[in-house]
């Protein structure tokens, strides 16, 4: 199947990978020329708007759209009746299996509204004003039901039931009554009782984290057109154009090949754009009206109706002997799934103890539906929550035992050859190196002043591989184009160009990367899961290697020698049997492509396995104002095992951005619901994300323990950085004020109350 390809020589000096060229799409982005989802327009385009439930939980008795349809300027109105009534079916189009019926009902409510903001109808009209007037004319009768949002309240036996047919999976015996608990999972090892019996110090705490939103600055936006021939086109801000195509096809009952999705530039995703909200509605409205339809969410809609991540309660009991050996851990995680099942409690469970080699543990996770927006992936989904709890407990254990928090972690650290808490044996991991990096960093020894504290925390994320396609085309002048199917959310285009340039031996500015639509490139899994540099980079490199093999064949033909007399080095073919022969540059060979077999192109599709997991270790210094409880982050250092930094500046950027989101989660961010189940802070004024004056410089330490499965040793990097900060900040605060804080966010009133209670 695959030919033997040249591998980059181990230890050979790299000329492009590891440098910091200006990103190829950079000028577009600093001049305002780059086109994002809402920047696109088509002639005759209509404006689409959504009518949303004002109730957190209600039966939808009727939806009467006649008056809206009659309004001049309204060209189409859709409700659930315009979508096929899908059977419950699991389908993998994002990164993990999703229930198609749930996705369809989340886009357009059927029978029940399950959260305030749930879409119940949509209109397309000739102007935004007319569309909004039409929404007012749609009459919906609801039977309001009691609602439940708090995760433990939703688990109670007498809680209002969201789904009549939801029976908890994963219990020893199948329950005879439905509940809001969709699933229970469990991970176990060893003998928990014996482990705790051996412990000389035990920490037992309950931790609470709120629902937080990914907070991308660009609201969801798309333009869709469904022509009379049944062919659809979608221009969408999304993390995956193939995912959009698949979900739209399924939700609308179309063939995938009937829909062509072009990815717009995307203004942030972080996992929140790995699903669809608007696209199926826009296509349905376009189909009905015969015109293109543009739909853009308002900021309020983004908060009210797109997935935040879970709010959660995590109970941790952890024990160790006096010398710091952790002997037992018992963890219970309860995660909100929002309106439909599928919280990241599984990943939260699997990552909770991933940094620790513990002989005895039990981890139990509950996936619980609640009357809040359906939860969507958010950067290392599930892991920051469990890490907050475990890392806080470990820190408290360190304090109780009088041990240095880094030393305690080193003592129990996982290393190559050890079994992960979630099952497989670790290979080529760089966890201990991250601990050593922060231990030896000047930050850790810097003196602290009054009201200041220092916190340490670690974190883990799997990183995924998956399916990617890449094509490389050599132009007649010897430059090249790299085509992939992964939207660029963090500078990945630059890395693709760099890996291709390195392999071909070209300067990076002679390699142009583009992100293609679903018709122009083979299937690629979406951008997320820290997979793009790893998996798509692998496909890009292999495609470039195929090109190199082809170039050598052509050079051999031009020189009329056997191919084993040709070597490719630094962008040129060298003749080995007559060493004084002038080399043939890529441009020279390209100029003769017609005579040597035709255009020079290669495409590789693969399913990348062996993505290496990532580890991070962070130090955070804070100062707490004793009068107001206000927390200032003074200094932050983040070490991470990145495999190989293809473009170090963008790797640093991933670390800094994830840290900033984690700090926001720790200090400010939360969904606040009123008694009716409506979000009270659905805007950036009161949903407070970190601003420039909240943060210091964030120092990343990139540790390179290469992943042998990737041609350049890369590991995924994007998600690990958000995992440690919640506890790093909380641990720093605990040490600053002398009180252990177990409930996020660490807002000033909470800290004031804690300090008052000292």
């Amino acid at each position: 199947m695959s030919e033997v390809l040249d591998r980059p020589e181990a230890g050979a000096a790299l000329k492009v990978v590891g440098t910091r060229p200006i990103r190829p799409d950079g000028v577009d982005k600093v001049t305002g020329r780059a086109a994002y989802g809402a920047d696109f327009a088509m002639p005759g385009m209509l404006v689409g708007r959504i009518k949303r439930s004002p109730h957190a939980h209600a039966r939808i008795l009727s939806v009467d759209t006649r008056r809206a349809q009659a309004l001049p300027g309204v060209k189409a109105v859709v409700t659930a009746a315009d979508f096929p009534n899908l059977a419950s079916e699991e389908y993998e189009a994002g990164e993990s299996a999703s229930n198609l019926r749930d996705i369809s009902c989340n886009c357009m409510a059927r029978d029940k509204a399950l959260y305030d903001g749930h879409a119940v109808a949509a209109v397309a009209a000739t102007s935004a004003a007319i569309a909004e007037e039409a929404l007012e004319l749609i009459e919906v009768t609801y039977e309001v039901l009691p609602h439940v949002i708090d995760v433990e309240a939703a688990m109670a036996a007498d809680a209002p039931l969201l789904h009549a047919h939801l029976y908890t999976q994963g219990l020893e015996t199948r329950p005879d009554k439905p509940s809001n608990i969709a699933k229970r999972n469990r991970l176990e090892r060893g003998d928990l009782e014996a482990g705790f019996a051996a412990a000389e110090a035990v920490v037992e705490r309950r931790y609470v984290t709120p629902a937080v939103h990914q907070g991308y600055i660009e609201p969801h936006a798309c333009v869709a057109v469904m022509a009379a021939d049944g062919q659809g086109q979608v221009w969408s801000s999304s993390q995956g154009q193939f995912m959009v195509r698949t979900y739209c096809a399924k939700v609308l009952g179309l063939e995938a090949s009937d829909i062509r999705v072009t990815p717009a530039e995307i203004g942030g995703g972080f996992g929140g754009k790995t699903t669809v909200y608007l696209e199926p509605l826009a296509l349905a409205l376009s189909r009905k009206s015969g015109a293109p339809v543009k739909m853009v969410m308002s900021r309020e809609e983004v908060f009210r109706a797109t997935g935040p991540t879970s709010g959660a309660v995590v109970e941790v009991k952890i024990g160790a002997t006096r010398d710091g050996t952790i002997t037992a851990a018992d963890i219970v995680l309860k995660y909100q799934a929002g309106a439909y099942e599928g919280s990241p409690v599984g990943a939260g469970s699997m990552t909770a103890l991933a940094c620790y080699d513990i002989a005895n543990f039990r981890i139990t996770g509950y996936d619980v539906v609640t009357n809040s927006p359906k939860v969507a992936a958010y950067r290392a989904p599930g892991a920051p929550i469990s890490a907050f709890a475990v890392e806080s407990a470990v820190d408290e254990l360190a304090q109780t035992l009088g041990l240095d928090p880094i030393a305690l972690r080193e003592k129990n650290a996982v290393r190559d050859g050890m079994k992960a808490a979630y099952g497989p044996t670790y290979r080529n991991i760089g966890y201990v190196e991250t601990l050593e990096a922060i231990r030896d960093h000047p930050h850790y020894a810097a003196p602290l002043g009054p009201n200041q504290g220092r916190g340490v925390a670690v974190g883990f994320w799997f990183n995924v591989g998956g399916e990617s396609t890449a094509a490389v085309h050599v132009n007649e002048d010897g430059s090249a184009v790299v085509v992939t199917g992964n939207p660029d959310i963090g500078g990945s285009r630059a890395s693709m160009a760099m890996m291709a340039a390195e392999t071909l031996g070209l300067p990076v500015d002679k390699v142009r990367p583009i992100v293609a639509d679903t018709a122009a490139i083979g299937f690629s899994m979406l951008t997320g899961g820290s997979r793009t540099t790893f998996a798509t980079g692998m496909a890009v490199t292999q495609a470039a290697q195929k090109i190199v093999a082809d170039l050598k064949r052509r050079a051999a033909q031009i020189w009329d020698v056997a191919i084993d007399q040709v070597e490719w080095r630094e962008g040129e073919a060298l003749r080995l049997d007559k060493a004084d022969t002038p080399p043939l540059s890529l441009a020279a060979i390209a100029a003769q492509s017609a005579r040597t077999g035709g255009p020079i192109t290669a495409e590789v599709s693969l399913n990348a396995g062996g993505a290496g997991p990532g580890f991070g270790a962070h130090i955070c210094d804070v100062e707490v104002d004793p009068e107001t409880g206000y927390v200032t982050v003074l200094r932050y250092t983040a070490a991470q095992d990145v495999g190989r930094a293809i473009h170090p500046a963008y790797v640093e950027g991933q670390v800094q951005g994830g840290v900033a989101q984690g700090i926001g989660w720790a200090l400010n961010e939360e969904y606040i619901f009123d008694g009716e189940g409506k979000m009270e802070n659905a805007g950036f004024l009161d949903y407070r994300v970190p601003v420039a004056s909240d943060l210091p410089m964030i120092e990343p330490i990139l540790i390179e323990v290469p992943n042998p499965r990737h041609p350049f040793g890369a590991k995924g990097v994007g998600e690990v950085p958000i995992v440690p900060p919640l506890a790093a900040v909380a641990n720093a605060v605990a040490r600053a004020i002398g009180v252990r804080m177990t409930s996020l966010p660490l807002s000033p009133p909470k800290l004031r109350a804690a300090m008052d209670g000292r």
Binding site: K29, E218, A692, S693
Partner: protein, 164 residues
């Protein structure tokens, strides 16, 4: 319902005369994006909290989503599209690229316009002054570290160019 009477607005946008018709209730942001095709300014929130729509109006930094289109009558508007001159990037734009001070790039136009206003008001800001001035421009990707470095570096270059 009868359509409100549209107003004719004449302004100077990025140094060139520009005109458009607008409903009285419409924002400058919508007029720039939909009438003049200047889609560099973005709507991130519509309520003046994120700064993605930052433009400079008669020399003052504003959120275009909080300015009525009609208020632009007779005024000078500077957007991201006017920042490079004749195909030559402004030092801030160049430094943003060199420092990798953008990831998704959505907040970048607003940040650049705001930074340009900062350096016009204060050519030698401290790190703290730069952070507080830019506190009205939300970025979710970068954590602001490289943004601030780029702004300080551009400020230094611009001060030097002024002296030279």
């Amino acid at each position: 319902m009868s359509q409100p009477h549209k107003t004719h607005i004449s302004a100077v946008v990025n140094g060139d005369p520009a005109e458009f018709l607008t409903d009285p209730g419409r924002t400058l942001l919508d007029a720039l994006r939909d009438d003049l095709g200047l889609t560099g300014a973005k709507e991130g929130c519509g309520s003046g909290d994120c700064g993605a729509c930052s433009v400079i109006l008669d020399g003052r930094l504003v959120c275009a989503c909080l300015v009525l289109a009609a208020e632009a009558e007779g005024k000078r508007v500077e957007t991201i599209e006017g920042m490079a001159e004749g195909g030559v990037l402004h030092p801030l734009q160049q430094k943003f690229l060199e420092h990798a001070a953008l990831q998704c790039g959505f907040c970048t136009p607003g940040l650049l316009v705001a930074a340009k206003a900062l350096l016009a008001a204060n050519p030698d800001p401290s790190e703290s002054e730069a952070r507080y001035w830019l506190a009205g421009n939300l970025c979710r990707c970068t954590g602001y570290d490289k943004v601030i470095r780029a702004v300080m570096d551009a400020a230094a270059d611009m001060r030097q160019a002024r002296v030279a």
